[in-house]
Chain length 214, copies 2
DNA sequence: TGCACTATTTCAGCGAGTGCAATTTCTGTG
DNA sequence: CACAGAAATTGCACTCGCTGAAATAGTGCA
């Protein structure tokens, strides 16, 4: 990744890697995201309408929904269409690691991929504590991702000689727990000022060290 | 209009314990729930409007929303206002059990409290597999319950001499994982024809036996 | 420069969910 | 039994999230 995809640059140093079109798209997406977070931080989730966000970002409400599946998604910054990509990564990881660790590696990558703008995080922290319902981390497409991963995992478990009935259930449990830990990491990252991967590591550390038995 | 919303009981054997008012309320609630599940099973979640459900249950759409927080809630049969009650139960359990087991006991009670009409469950099974987004088990008020329980748990952990910073995080993790396992149990109960408590026990069994290390 | 492609916009509309005020239905009391 | 008060149900009007379709504008490429 080239050094600077961020608001620092006033005019356009022409090239970064992907077309001008794509960068512009990114910019407006980021603009909407920022607008959403800022407005929600100030007025509260329900008080903010999509129209406000769109106006503040300088787009129509329709383009808002062209970029984000839902209002929550915009606030959380969740971009759609990651499911397939993730399941491929998971398949790759399964070659070299146990199901649990493979899943962890993938999830950790996801967290690491989320840009860590400290100012934005500060705002998000505010938002998340005031709007607990956002902790679902996007009901919508997350489920899709989950079932995708369960699919891949149970395949892997079958190959290791597990009984087909159990494989699916075990896969489901592992994924559910994996996501639960990820959510905890999210929460931690919000309440303290931690970056996501560190928070994730901390959670795993606590979980693996005896916490299960508490 | 009192024609006949209920198949089971032709007339009213007068007393059961709570007032006539309350029983009627229950009846209509169940009627709505059934209607919701049946319609969604047949036509799919998005194709079914609240108006359809309400009409089929013989009520106005307005009363529908007097009973259910949301359309999902009606399909899942999630009744609001359980948060306080649960946290009290949890507090009681904490007197006699470890945080983890206390939480498990409470959650198991919740599952056991959900009536196990086999016909309804069969329908739900259909619905859940066709509408994966419902697996969130109600984004809305569930979160409220969660944070309530986290609160109680972290208090308990403080009393046991944990450091305040860790207490909250650990509580959050325990609750998240606890709910994750519950969700798995839900899934299991749907895909096989299991009743909820059995499914829950099975999940715990698998989880506690080495699954964590997989 | 011109053509194909795609992001954006406008517009019209559906359906979920809410507040309010009117009305009906139960319950406890004298 | 009658009656007052509580609670449940309802109709109505309204806001807002979200979508489809078609028109328009902006970009990348030959």
């Amino acid at each position: 990744m080239p050094p600077d995809p961020l608001p620092g640059s006033p005019d356009d140093p022409p090239e970064d890697g992907l077309g001008l079109r794509e960068t512009k798209k990114r910019q407006t997406r980021i603009a909407m995201h920022r607008a959403a977070v800022e407005l929600v931080a100030e007025h509260g989730f329900t008080q903010v309408t999509v129209e406000m966000i769109a106006r503040k970002a300088g787009v129509s409400t329709r383009t808002f929904f062209n970029h984000w599946v839902t209002k929550d998604a915009a606030v959380l910054g969740v971009v759609p269409g990651e499911a397939v990509q993730l399941s491929q990564q998971l398949r790759a990881q399964l070659e070299v690691a146990s199901p649990r660790d493979a899943l962890r590696a993938v999830l950790r990558d996801v967290l690491a991929g989320i840009p860590a703008d400290p100012e934005l995080r500060e705002l998000k922290k505010l938002v998340m504590t005031k709007e607990p319902h956002l902790h679902t981390i996007s009901s919508g497409n997350l489920i899709e991702v989950q079932s995708e991963l369960v699919e891949v995992l149970s395949e892997g478990m079958l190959d290791e000689g597990m009984e087909p009935e159990d494989a699916r259930l075990c896969a489901a449990i592992v994924v559910q727990v994996g996501f639960a830990l990820t959510r905890s990491a999210f929460g931690l990252s919000m309440t303290r000022g931690l970056d996501l991967p560190s928070a994730y590591d901390r959670v795993l550390e606590l979980y693996d060290g005896g916490l299960r038995e508490v």
